[in-house]
Every structure is written in C-alpha cells, then in structure tokens.
Symmetry: C2
Subunit: 461 residues, 2 copies
C-alpha cells in the first residue's frame, strides 16, 4: 500500500463518528495475528474497534470506496490464521460490541459478536438456561468468532455445533448493507439458508454484528465414566462400539499417553500409569435411563478391552476423572511450540487413524500426542517442537500435511472445527473437487463483489 | 417455445442412452403440477425419467445447450407449486432413482432421491434405525422432494427437520457438473456450507441425485397425552407454557374444533364434544424421566385451563388419542377444496395468531380450520371452499394473503415447511428486505448462470 492510499483510508476511518481507530504499530501489532503463528501475517494499516453496527457499516463503506481489504476478528483465539492481517488491510476488532439480551419466554438470546463465550454461559446460568457450544477457547473466545468458524467443542457429540444454535444473524454485507438473515421461529424455509452459509465463512462473506441463538435448559449434573486402554486401537474400538450401539453420551473424549505423561510431569497426578489411552465419557440423562446409559458406556469400554474403568456421579470426583482432558493442552504447551491438527474421520476409521498418527510422528521425528473429541471422530493431534528449533518446525509442517492426507484417505475432512484460515487452504483444495472449488469462488464473488472481505482466507486455492 | 426449438430439445433428450422420455401430452400432463392447484402450471415439452446420475447430467447438459428450463420433481406432493411445469420446460421426474444402502456401522444411509419416505422408514426399522423427518405426505413423498423443500413434520419439535439429517449430497449443478457437497463425518467446517444452501432450494440451485443422511436408533414407544380446551387461546397458552418450561415432547400437535367436527362427521368418533381445541403431546423419554416429562406436560395443559386430560402408554390407546390429528386433513378434504397455509410464529404469539385466524375466516366468509405443529409454532390453517365455487376461491386467496401478513406482523415466517414455490413468492418478497432479496438473486445467478434450474420458483420477486 502506498502512502497516499494509506493516508486516505485512515482519514476516512477517522472521520467515522465515535469510531476508535488505532494506527500506531505499537498498538496495531497486537492485532496482527491469531494463535496460528505458523501462518503468514503482517501489521495492518489500521485497527478499528467499532461499538455499533452503524460504525461497522461505515467502515465497510470506507473500505469499499478505498478498495481496502478488511480482516474481522474476535478474541484472536483462532488456530488457522483466519484472523491474520496483511499490510494493506484494516482489522475490525469486534471486542467492544459485547451486549446481550436474554428472552427467557422464547429461550432465545440476542448477542453481540464481542461477547465472550464463558461470560455468555454465566449470564444464562442465572436463568437456568444453557448455550451448549463450548470450544476449548471459551474463557476468551467470542460468540462472533465462534460463528465465523462454526465452533464446536466437547458438547457436539450430543448437542451439535454453533450453527445448530444460530437462528438469526445481523450482517454487514460485502456491499455495505446491514441485513438480517435467518429467522426467530423454530422452523422456516423461506428462501435460501444464507444464515447457514454465513456461519463458518470466516469473515469472507460478511461481518456478523448480532447473533440470535436458541437456548436449552441447563442439563442435569452428569455422571462421568473413565476407561484406561492398553492401546490407542482398543480405545478407538470402544468409540466405534458406542457409535454402533447408538448411545449418546454428552461428552466422549480421548487422551493419549503423550498427553497423560505431559499432565503428570506438570501436575504430578499419576494419570499415565500403564495406560496408552484414556477415554472419558459423560451421561447427562436423568433417572433410570441415565443409569442404563452409563452401564452401556462401561460395557463398550470393557468389550473393547479396557484395563480399568470407573464411574462417578459425585461432582468433585467427576471433575477429578476429567482432569486428564482438562489439563492436556496446557500441559503440552509447556513442552514446546504446539501445532494443533483438527482432522475429523468416520468413527469406524478412528482406530486406524490413531495408529497412523503415531507412525507419522515417528517417521518425521516429531512428538505427536493426541487429544480427541472421540465421539465425533474429531482428532486433535498436537505436534510439539522445541521453541526456536527451525528444523523441527519444518519436520512438524511435513507431518501436519501428511496427517491431512491420512484424514482424506479415511473419507474424513481436513478440519472438524478450527476452520481453513490460511493453514488449511492447501488441504481444502485437496478435499474439494475442482467443480466444488469453483462453486465456492462463485458464491464468494456473488456476495463480496469488491473482494474486500478477508481476502486470501478460507477458500480453496 | 417454437417448433424448431421443441424438436431440437426432444431430439437431444431422446439421444441420451437409456433415458425414458415422454413427449405425448396424455403422458406429460400427469407431470404438469404438484398439489398446489391454485398456482399456475402448464403441460411441459417433455418429461424425462432418468435412472442414473449420468442420465441427469446429460439432461442438464442438453438443457444448457438448448437454453431449456428444467423443473425437477419427486412424487408431486408439494403444496406450493414448486414442481409446477411451464410450457417451455422439461420436467425431470426422479421417481426411478429409488435405490438405498444402509451403513449400520456408521448409522448412515445413502439414498437416491426417488425413494419414498415411508419405504425408507420401513427399510431402516429392520435394522432398529430411524430417519425422523415425517412430513404428512410420507406415504408418497420422496427423499429428494423432502430435501428440496427441507421438509419437516411432527418430529421436528424434538428431532429437527430434513436438513438436520443430511450429511452429504450428490448434485448435478447448473453448469452440468456432478459434485458432492458436505461430508460423511459428524463434524466438519471445510469450506462454505453448500450442502445446507442446497437443502430447501426447491430445485433452483441444482438437481440432487443422491443423499447421505444420518440415522438415529428407533425411539422407544411413546406415551401419548391429550388435553381438551374451551378456547384456542387456552390451548395456545399451554403450548407457550411448555416452551418456557423447557420440556421437549417428541410431538405436540393442535387440532381445532373445525377439524374435530370434520373428523366426527366422517368417522363418527365423538371427538369434538365441548372442546374448541385439542392438544396431543407425546414423550418418548424412557424410564422415570419420561414419567416426569408426561407429568409436566399434563401440568402445563391443566395450568392453561384444560377441561379434560388423559395419558396412555398403551400402543392402541395411544393411537386412539392421536386419531383426531391423524384424520384431520383427509376429513377436511372431504368438505371441499383445501388451501393449506403454513405460517410459523414464535410460541408466545401462538394464542393471538390462532384467534386472528378465526376472525380472518369470518371476515372473508371462508371456512378456516387449523391443525398445527404447535410445539414449533408452525400453524396450518386449512381454507376450505366448495368445489367449483370461484367466488369462494377468490375469498380464500384473499384470506390466505392476510394470514401471511399476520405471520409477518407476529415476527414469524410465511412458510414453516412447505416452501415458497409459486404460491409464496409475494409473501417471501414481503418477508425479506430488498438487500437480502438481492443476495438471493446473486447466489442464484452464481450457481445457475444459464438460468435453467426451475426458473420463476422459490425466489423473491
């Protein structure tokens, strides 16, 4: 971007009433990237922090006029580089749009995009209500970012992902108009599902300025079950058995030995023992049906060869059983730089794919430890390299690309819940046929005719 | 269409290997319209009945070459005219594409579009599996038609609509390519949700040639509860109370006095009695939690002023309690020509809207009786006119348009599950803002650049 263009876009932004505009590199550099440090990024021309839909609309209008790209971000907890900035872009941080209203009568909430997921959860609990999507980033990540990536989490195995809860969106479009997509009613088939198209589109089709989500009653306290396994394959078979049996646990997570050891090294919990993998399941079905569900889960664990199982309804004991999963990611981060994979495969392929992950780590001399939303087949191999070790970083990237291919070969997808951003564009290109890739670009051009919305992200190459 | 064009498209179709082509009006006229007899239709140029995806692809290629519109249809049970033909169009009937495969291990099924909904249900029951979407047309309607309209039914209140079950689609696009959209895995965020965009698009964005749906285990036998009410408003309040309480019945239907009397007149069941409205609910939760859910439903009925309530777990008695709902629509059809409305409103607005429906019927001197998927706020006012009475038909159309406005005024939608087709294009235009209407047309042009896919349907004017 040349100096004249730079000056004219910043002048245009600064003339928007009440808009907070940052242009000094010492301020804007904090908004240069999300958590995908492996992906390219640069310090943007400016960062704006709007506090109203009208300000967002005016920013988009200015960027259309000055042909300036826009990168929208929430809390910057993304793992694919979807919010990484470029040197010619304006970053729109929605952190100041953080209002919410709860409509108890209809079990709906109207939420601005900057509301933090856990804050939203806490506000709802006061009404006995619940918004299920629970990405691991929920203490920091915002509802807007969750919508942009169609975020998942632990709850998905029973309760679905962000898009399953979004009823209506207010969006500033690529032509600078404020629109409402979707509807407030439980059902509706009037027109194309543009609401659904917007969810997970990573800021490439519009800027979400308000979200209406449906809510559920708070679920009862769950029973937690745990199973230790001698091999990843056994644990994978337990998951597949649960799938075939048609049981719907409210959580079904896997933690492998690499993660268990990392947790032990940090918190000295003695989790690893002899186990190669631990499965943690939960049932939140009340009464006798819940007892039966727990029995069925334990039966599947045992049938697959669990060497130890336990179950608890006690809240504190439940939390203790869950500790291995809770501390796995931060424990791995203590060991080095973590590159998080996010493949998703059919349940019957989970055992094979888990075995392949281990051999890929060995072949590339990279530490690979895996946590997984096992009940969904959504695996998060964590590739850990020593800080500053560039050669190890190169090996990790090679392992990362090979894992993507393993997912595709297993009829899976390159991203279960983290999104394409920058890191997975090549993988997406491999996943989609050329004709489907062309459909993506046709839709993008139709809804972002000026090509200013997060260009270079989320789409096949 | 002039004779030369006519001859060249039929010649092109007849040269497609193995394709069944009908051109005689005595054959093609049976494919001229769906059940929306109020909407315009004409006898098409030809009807093709492909038996493979390759034949569908070749038909689309021929229609692109000859700039001939295509109208795709399943069983023709649609209620909005979405499958109504024009005199220049080729109708693609998918009735011969009726194969299905069940993948028990992954609880998925691969279904061709011509499979009849109830046949699919029967095939799955043999495996203890279940595909919930259950439109009233399920004995005849096909999975392809269900996908094209995002069909609902009784199950939606707990189990969602067709789109909630579609994992993957094979589609012949507007550019004549065969693509696969979506994925087989439980989660996935790779690229735009083009699968979701295709669902409910009424044949305007592509022709669905294969559907992969997820399945559930067959639910346990339900308990049926019934409540009689002195007024529609009381019944509506019971529905709103159930919503606020966060209870999830597996069915919650309303039948008003007009329908009850029609059923009595037909089958002499003595249903109407003193009741102005009957609510029928079901719970399929097993064990003690189910008993509690039934008690909660009855409490809501009674709190809203039910004059009579009953509950039964016995299968035969359950069916008897359900008879009023089951026979309501055919009973109304015995009384004249039925124009079926399909509005959907927020639950708290149901009592008001029900009252408005009655007064609209009186104002226009049209018999209006209502059945409703009450738990979703999806109301089906049935406007009945004597066969051949044109003046009554005109009055019914006026009432129909007024009901659409009532839905919009109540923050509702003009169609909960039947689709836009031809009958609701004006209503859709009123529901969407001009900017959202423009987004619809931009997406349509992007994915159907030749404008041949069911032109004139499903979109705002």
């Amino acid at each position: 971007m040349n100096d004249t263009t730079y000056a004219s876009i910043t002048t245009a932004l600064e003339s928007i009433e009440g808009l907070d505009v940052l242009t000094k590199p010492e301020s804007t550099s904090a908004y240069a990237h999300d958590r995908a440090v492996w992906a390219a990024y640069d310090v943007p021309v400016a960062v704006v922090r709007p506090s109203s839909t009208e300000q967002v609309r005016a920013v988009v209008a200015a960027c259309i006029e000055h042909r300036t790209p826009l990168v929208t971000r929430g809390a910057g907890t993304g793992l694919s580089g979807g919010a990484n900035a470029t040197s010619d872009a304006v970053v729109v941080s929605l952190e100041r749009m953080d209002q919410l209203d709860v409509d108890v009568e209809h079990r709906l909430a109207r939420v601005q995009p900057g509301v933090v997921n856990d804050d939203f959860r806490a506000a709802l609990a006061a009404y006995g209500l619940w918004y299920p999507p629970d990405p691991a980033s929920s203490p920091w990540s915002t509802i807007g970012g969750n919508v942009a990536t169609n975020a998942g989490g632990m709850c998905c195995v029973k309760y679905g992902v962000t898009g399953d809860y979004v009823r209506e969106l207010e969006v500033v479009t690529g032509t600078g108009e404020v629109v409402r997509l979707g509807r407030r009613t439980a059902k509706g088939v009037a027109g194309y599902d543009l609401r659904g198209l917007m969810v997970g589109s990573e800021g490439t089709l519009g800027i979400v300025t308000e979200v209406v989500v449906r809510l559920r009653p708070l679920p009862p306290d769950p029973t937690t079950v745990i199973g230790n396994f001698d091999s990843l394959e056994d644990a994978g078979r337990a998951v597949a058995l649960i799938g075939v049996a048609g049981i719907s646990p409210s959580l079904l997570e896997l933690v492998d030995r690499g993660c268990l050891e990392a947790v032990d090294a940090w918190r000295n919990m003695g989790l690893a023992g002899e186990a190669e993998a631990v499965l943690i399941g939960r049932s939140d079905v009340p009464g006798s049906a819940g007892e039966q569900e727990v029995a069925e889960l334990l039966r599947c664990f045992e049938e697959a060869g669990a060497t130890f199982t336990a179950a608890s309804v006690d809240r504190q004991e439940s939390e203790a059983l869950y500790a291995a999963r809770q501390f796995a990611f931060p424990a791995m981060e203590r060991l080095g730089v973590v590159l998080t994979e996010d493949i998703c495969v059919p349940l019957a392929r989970v055992p094979d794919v888990l075995a392949r992950l281990r051999s890929i780590g060995e072949a590339h001399d990279v530490k690979v430890a895996t946590i997984a939303h096992a009940g969904d087949g959504n695996l998060h191999p964590l590739l850990v390299t020593p800080p500053g070790d560039e050669a190890a970083g190169v090996r990790a990237r090679a392992a990362f690309e090979e894992i993507i291919q393993v997912a595709l070969d297993a009829d899976g997808t390159v991203t279960g819940e983290h999104g394409i951003g920058l890191l997975k564009r090549d993988g997406l290109t491999r996943e989609l046929s050329p004709a489907v890739a062309a459909m993506h670009h046709a839709v993008k051009s139709a809804l972002d005719p000026h090509g200013i919305l997060n260009p270079g992200k989320g789409l096949p190459l």
